[in-house]
């Protein structure tokens, strides 16, 4: 199974990505998608500016995907992460995991997101409505903690 990995500034089409991952594969019984969306932070936020490390971003997401593929019996896996300016309501990240059974699809998608949050080289800066720089978003310790549950199994 070769995962689909993309790092891009443009938006993605969830239905098209599901279709690409499942069309013609009669073993797919379960498809889980995760979409991360830009919130407006109680109306304060004009946009997020997402910086990334070109080259490493794709490679690191690929490494995470390879681990997921080795751990669950997946029939398909896609991960797309956007960079650049993203406004409230716009998509930031997409993971699609397909498998014969639902538990594998759920767990693989959740695993992908936990690791992409804390291991894929992206950084978010907040831009406030008045145009001022809201500063870099701090990493949350709960995101780091989320990785632990995957090593305890």
């Amino acid at each position: 199974m070769k995962p689909t990995i993309r790092v891009q500034s443009e938006d993605f089409d969830i239905a098209a990505e599901i279709q690409a991952l499942t069309a013609g594969n009669p073993d797919v019984g379960a498809v889980v998608t995760f979409t991360g969306v830009c919130r407006d932070e109680a109306g304060r936020l004009a946009a997020l500016e997402l910086e990334h490390y070109p080259g490493m971003a794709e490679q690191e997401i690929s490494r995470i995907a390879t681990r997921a593929d080795g751990r669950w019996p997946l029939t398909g896996l896609a991960a797309i992460h956007r960079f650049g300016r993203i406004r409230p309501g716009e998509n930031i990240v997409l993971v699609v995991a397909a498998s014969k059974h639902r538990q594998a699809a759920f767990e693989a998608a959740s695993f992908m997101m936990d690791f992409m949050k804390s291991r894929a080289p992206f950084w978010k800066k907040e831009i406030f409505l008045d145009g001022t720089d809201g500063g870099w978003v701090d990493a949350r310790s709960t995101d780091e903690d989320a990785l632990d549950r995957w090593s305890q199994k």
């Binding site: 910086e51 490390y53 080259g55 490493m56 997101m113 949050k117 992206f122 950084w123 990493a139």
Partner: protein, 84 residues
Amino acid sequence: MVKLVYFAWVRERIGKSEEEIVLPDSVTTIDDLLDHLKQRGEEYRNALEHSDVIRVALDHRHSQHDAAIGGASEIALFPPMTGG
């Protein structure tokens, strides 16, 4: 010569996104590199002050601070990631 690349507030505080430098022979680990950079000026000391939070990638791979730099040609310094 090794290429150093910086991201997010590490980049902003150092004031550049990349540079090429020659590493002294005494610099063999990432910890050595961080100490060496702090001697290059106020902006580096400011960026790398809390060096325990600085994440480092050697040739696009996350690496621990005690790792040997070896023959890495690109070393990236950045804050904890906030993707997803």
